[in-house]
Structures are given as structure tokens and as C-alpha cells.
Chain length 258, copies 4
């Protein structure tokens, strides 16, 4: 089909570089490395992008999908560097970006009954390869219980508590495991969530939360203190958001390691 | 422009009536009647639809917008019957449907300090006019606190609690006020949410919730019991969904008056 | 832990049956049958519910998760009847409901270049088992191109077109394949979407759409005509929604086989 | 209630400053300045935050709502500087942040028939006051038509087109009007969206789009070229995302003025 004109290759005289151009919202089956079971099948949402110098009118969008399809029906998370190189090469770009988000499951044991259930987390990678290096930011979201220290302190009984969402984004080398970050998050709140809790477990987590009250600020700081102990984590950001049980709005705290 | 051909008016030979055809996701400023303040300005999302008999190929979508624009820059909720009639007439339809969803605000007083704050609720109307009558379903969503009776009963101290979402849809004649249904919902849970709570209020709502534990089933039944007392409510559905603070999944209960 | 009191088993005197009570938003790895490849790994969102007679205060939420976990780390779609029976038995319920939604992938070949790419669809099952029978509703969502017949007819060149979303829900026995319904949807619009299109494919799909203009009403009727040919489909509903390229609102059509 | 202990004021020894802490997802009626009509009523979603030095355990969340409520039942957009100062003072903070997002409506005239309809846009402000200065970023989102130049060039007739979303964020002093940025966006694509189009208008916009094909890269560059002409715009970012009518994934381009 070489006789079909190539509009994208036309010269452009607006003198403006494009920082990032590509495809978004691509759904794709994904195989990820799993610390305990070897591999895990999941489904990801992907974004693939390149830079576009000022003298080209457009990028060739179909090539992103070709690179992705060359991975076969599944895509391994440890193929990120190879994928970034392939994007740069296939699209003649200086910079390639990959964004990938997926649910991730861990078998979690109830604290008293020992019953197992699958907990879901959300993982995201933002990876960029420019000429000299690859920059990878990993995002991990886990949900927790938070019990309000103020409510506990001023009330004769009870204390309002709620589901909180904790997102840690970080740069590390060598890469930390998802499981390590999830453990840090779950130990930094008033309590940890479970898929399956029997009555004896519910008693345990209720009392545990009451004994470990934590403001949204406390959770963020507890996570930060633990991340500071990792010499291989160069940068991080911790975000905590509580779906307050006494308000319709949420409360939020954020700490970034500069 | 009468010389532009009218594809929509072409005959259709597939012999299939269309039940509902029209426009969705139309954003529009709205003025609603407010029990305490007369009127309230808000922003709605609208759907406007008609039926389409088998012998017409298409409806005339622009006419829905014309009918809406004839209302001026704002749209009053008490204009629903007039709007439905206008849609039927303007589109030569037997049946007209209107769906309208909007946030609604009520000034709410904190229980001890007496401080005021604006609480937001979600209101929806589904209105249908066929040849003989108008059928209006009103939906009201309010958020509440629920405190688990089981967790309280088995634990030495504390009890898990969380934000719950309660949606009541109903048919009534004469129409009940939003405020009446909201009051019913807020009195049927472990506690009610507030925009602004000072420390003395937080103590009050914490202790109140602890004293009023309610399963998702309890909230649904409490609402149903109160709605049963309204002789002008012919049909209702109550849905309760808790964002459990000890699980990542939600729990849900539903009661429908047949 | 038999000494922990069982609040859920307390008698209830409000005299109100609960139609549906259970868990929602449960994420879980799923294995589905795939017409071409045998099986496919995906990730589902699940809801599991039962009815609750008036004389019980609450259901036992943890038992839903136990039933689900008994399936192991993955859940097969052909295990729906077994799962429903297990829910009814484990929760002593007359009626069990299961809702399961997941992305589903099919390798799709570009029309001229023959290049393959993975297309994603959305599948949902709503299954209910009461004492006498199982009722299963299957939902399939596929995205298509629609090109406006009116715009084509009145314009000297071009025609506005856009991405449309088509959802078919149906009851069938024996069950139809996802792939059959997807094929019907994709052949009922102005064109079908692809993951990967090279220039010769883009020329083909552009011209094909221009040659096959279709209103939202046309797509709905085209699907209905084809579904009417299946004697094993007892009931269906077709919904089409276009993200109009000339409006910010959408247009919508719905046909239900009564 | 001075005898209720103040947990938030407790000293903290974790030695970690919190960058941003406060409330999110607060819905509130808003009055905005409107270039043509003076003022406009809308509904906003707000976030209000401060920094928290390392020696305090928690911030006082209720004070954010108090500051907001002091504005009365409505909140004027030109009150942002006053609100930021009030937050800093009321919470003894060095830095105050305000995020506010709302739909905004403009009466728009169809190109041939002259019929009017209300178009909706999305506006957001991110405002930060630290000790020395206020930094305000304004975000404007408008939706457009894009028609693919490649599809037009290679096809005998037609060209795929779709709804695109354009978001411009910028810092300007003096502040530009929403209306100016919206006009720039709408003139940079293949066409502009309307609420109400009669047949003669639909002919016009169809032909206009066909005559003005634009890649996602073209739209981003066209916007950037026009923003470069404003000497009062110090920084901007342009993002364009097309809901491709031939793919289920989107295409995206981004230009940032450094």
C-alpha cells in the first residue's frame, strides 16, 4: 500500500515539539511476577507514548499496537524495558513512555481463624526511556481501616472509623516487591482489610483498630518513616484518603520525599 | 432548508418499534423548589426520550434540545409535566420520557454546637407520559453512618462503622418533599452525616452511633417501616450500600414494595 | 468461638422481607470459556446475594466469600449453577443471585492487511436461582462506528461519525456464545472497531462506514432483526449509545423484546 | 467544650512535615463571573488543604468547612485570594491550597440557523498561597470534533471523525477569561460542538470538519500557537484526547510550555 499518502510524515512548520503523543485506554491481558506463586494473570489498562519533534506532523499510532502485539496475547511486567526500546525504535523516537495499571491479588490469612481470602490491590507503572536511562515509577494502592484518635479520646465509647485508600508511588533500584510496600501500608493504619473474616476475626480487627487509632496524617507519616529505611528508594510520595464515616466529604494527606 | 432531505422521515420496513430513543448526558442549569428557601440553583444531567413507531426510520434529535431551550436558561422541576407534553407534541410521539439527576443542598445544623453547614444529596426524577397518564419516580440518595451490631456485640470495645449510601426510589401522589425522605433515611441508620462538626458534635455523633448499631438490613427495614406509614406512597424501593471499613468490598440490601 | 453472640440470627419483628442482601464490588480472578482458545484468564467484579425472610435480622456476609473461595484462586464461568446452589445451601436461602462482570478479549483480524490485534468487550451475567429454576441474563457490550445517514445525505462531502456503545442483554437456552452476539453487534453498525489498523485497513473501514450509514435507531433495529432469528433467545434488550462527534451529549435507542 | 482533649495539637516526634492535608470531594453551590451575563450559578467540587509542620500531629479539619461556610450559601470565584488567606490564618498554616472544579455554561449560536443552545464546559482552579505569593492554575476543558487527515487523504470518500476532549491548564496575569481559552480551543480542531443543530447547521459542520482535518497533534499545536501570542500567559499545558471512532482506545497528545 505504499501509494497511500502518509499525512503523518508531512513536514510541520509550527515549530512546536510535542512532549507526549500516543494511545491511551488500551485494555490488555497481563502476566505479572508474583512473589509467592511465580506468576499471576490479570488485565491491564495501558498507555503508550513517544515524543514528536517539531518537524513531523504526526506519529504513527498503529505502531504502538504492533509493538504491543509482538508480545503475544499476554504481556509480562518484566518486559517493560524491552517494550520501551521497541517503541523508541519502531517510532523513531527519542523518548518512549509506558503507563500500565492493573488489579493484583494476594492470598491473605484472617488473623484468628486462619481462613484465607484473596485481597485485591491496584498497581501502576509509569516508565520512561529517554536516550540515556529508564525511569520507572511504581504506584501501589491498598485500602485500610482508620480509626479517629480524636473521636476515641473525647467519646465515652466507640470511635468513628472508615475505609481509607493509601497510594504510594516510588522510584527504587533495585526494584522493591509490591508485597513489601503493601505490608508497609497495611501496618501503618489502624487496621488492615480482609476478604474473609469470621466472627472471631471481626472481634480481633475491631479491638485492634480501637487500640491503634490513626489520623490520615498518622498513616501518611507511618508509611513515610518505614519507606525512609529503604536505602534503595530514591523518591516516594504517600497519599492517604479517608471516606469519613461522619462526613460526606473525604480527608486527605500527602507526603513527598523531595 | 426544506430542500435538505429528511432521512429520519424515511419509511422503515424492519417492522420493529423502538421503545425509547433520544438524548442522554445533557448538562443543564436547573432551578428546584426548596422547602425552606423557595428555590435552589443547581446543575442537572438530563435524558429526554420518546418511543418511535415501526414505520419511521428515525426521530428528530434536535427537537429535544429545542423543547429544553424553550424553558430558557434554567429549567424548573415543576415544569416536568409541561416538558413531557411539549416533547410528545414536538416529536409526534405517544410516549415521552424525562430523566433528570442533580445535587441538592440542605443547610444542616450540628447536633451540639448548633453550627450550620451545607449537606449535599442526590435527587433523580424518571418521568414518563403516555397517552393517559404521567408516571413519576423520584429517587433520593443520602449518605449515613452505619455501625455494625455484630462487631459491637462481640468486641470488648469499639465497633467497626462506615459511610453508607441509601437510595430510595418511590411513586407518590401527592408528591412527598425531598426533605421528608431525607429525614427518614437519616433517622434509619446509626447516624447522620454532617458537613461541619466541632469536637463536642463529634463526641455526640460517635456515642450516638455506638448506641444505635444497624446492619445494612436494619437500615433498609427501618426506612421501609417509615415509608409504609405514608398512604400517598404507592411503590418504593430502598437500597443500602455500605463501604465496609474492614473489607474492600461493599455490603448491600434491597427492599421493594410490590 | 461459639460463645460469640450471633446478632444476625436474632429474631426480627419489623415484618419485612429483604429481597436481596449480600456483597458487592468483590474483585476476583476469573477463567472463562473461550470459543477459539478453550479458556481465557480475566478479572471480574462480583456481587453475591440472597433473599432474607422477615424473621431473621441479618444474613451472614462472610459465607458468600467462603463459597467463592471454595472455588479456589480462580472461578470458572460454567460454575455459575454450582455456585448458586452453594450460596443457597450455605446461607439457608430460598433465592440466590450472582452478578459477574468482566472484560473479554478476542483476536480480531484487520480487514485488508490481515494484521491481528486483541479487541476487548465487556460481559456480564445476572443469574438467579430460586427453588424451581435458574434464570440467567447475559449482557454483552461491544463498541462500533456509526456514521450519520442524515449528515451524509445533506452534505456535499463527509459525514459525522463516532464511537457507539452497543449492549445486548438476553435470556437464551441453550446459551448462545459471546462470539455470536458480538458478531451480530459488529455487523449491525456502520463499521466495527479494531485494535490495529494499517493505512490500507483505515482506507477500507473509512469507505465501508461511508457506504453503511446508520442512525442509532438503525443499529438497534439491525441487532433486533438478527436476534429475532434465534429461536433459543426468549428475551432480549438492545441498547445503543453514540458519543456524538458534533454534540457533547449522547444519543440513545433501546428495543426490548417483550 | 474546652475540656475535650485536642489530639490534633499533640506534639509529633516522627520528624516528618506533611505537604498537603485537608478535605476533598466537598460539593458546594458556586457563583462564577460570566463574561456575558455577569454571574452564573453552578455547583462545584472543592478540595481545601494546608501544609502541616513536623511538630504537630494533626490539622483541624472542621476549620476548612468553617472558612467555606463563612462565604455564605454561595461561593464567588473572585473570592479565592480571600479564601486562601482565611484558610492560612484559621489553620495557622504557611501554605493554603484550594482546588475547585465546576461545569460552566455558555450560550452558543448554531452556525447557519442562528438557533441558540447552552454548551457546557469544565473549569478548574488550583490555587496555592504561600507566604509570599498566590499561584493560580486555571484548567479549561472543552470538547471538539476531530477529523482524521490520513483517513481523508487515503479514502475515496468520507473520513473518520470523533469527539475529542481538549484540556488547557495555564498560569496568566492578568487572568484570561474562560471564554477566550474556549474560543481558542474550539477554533483549533476540525470543528466545534453545539447543543442544538438544525439540518442546515449539520450540513455546515459536516462540510466544515471535512475541510479542516486535524490530527490530535494538530489540535495541540494549533492551541499552543495561539496561546504563545498571549504575553500574559507564563505557562501552559495542552492535552488532547480523541475517542477514536475506529478504535476502542483513545489517542492523546500533550504540549507543555516550559
Amino acid at each position: 500500500m505504499s501509494n497511500l499518502c502518509d499525512k503523518q510524515n508531512e513536514p510541520d512548520n509550527r515549530q512546536i515539539d510535542i512532549d507526549k503523543v500516543g494511545v491511551k485506554g488500551v485494555k490488555y491481558p497481563l502476566v505479572v511476577l508474583d512473589k509467592n506463586n511465580g506468576i499471576q494473570n490479570t488485565v491491564a489498562e495501558l498507555g503508550l507514548f513517544v515524543d514528536l519533534p517539531r518537524h513531523y506532523r504526526g506519529t504513527h499510532m498503529s505502531r504502538f499496537l504492533e509493538v504491543l502485539n509482538d508480545e503475544g496475547n499476554v504481556f509480562h511486567i518484566d518486559s517493560i524495558p524491552r517494550l520501551l526500546s521497541a517503541i523508541r525504535k519502531r517510532l523513531n523516537a527519542r523518548t518512549a513512555h509506558l503507563e500500565v495499571t492493573f488489579p493484583y491479588f494476594i492470598k491473605k490469612i484472617a488473623p484468628v481463624s486462619g481462613r484465607a481470602g484473596l485481597m485485591d490491590y491496584e498497581i501502576r507503572f509509569d516508565a520512561t526511556q529517554s536516550e540515556r536511562k529508564i525511569d520507572i515509577i511504581m504506584w501501589i494502592t491498598a485500602w485500610v481501616t482508620t480509626l479517629c484518635p480524636c473521636s476515641k479520646a473525647i467519646s465515652r465509647y466507640g470511635a468513628h472509623n472508615q475505609r481509607g485508600k493509601v497510594t504510594v508511588s516510588l522510584r527504587s533500584s533495585p526494584q522493591v516487591w509490591f508485597e513489601e510496600v503493601i505490608e508497609i501500608i497495611e501496618q501503618s493504619a489502624s487496621g488492615s482489610l480482609y476478604s474473609l473474616l469470621k466472627r472471631e476475626d471481626e472481634k480481633y480487627v475491631t479491638e485492634y483498630s480501637y487500640e491503634h487509632p490513626a489520623f490520615v496524617e498518622d498513616v501518611a507519616r507511618n508509611v513515610a518513616v518505614k519507606l525512609n529505611e529503604f536505602s534503595n528508594i530514591a523518591w516516594y510520595k504517600v497519599e492517604v484518603e479517608n471516606a469519613e464515616s461522619i462526613h460526606h466529604h473525604n480527608v486527605y494527606a500527602c507526603i513527598e520525599k523531595k
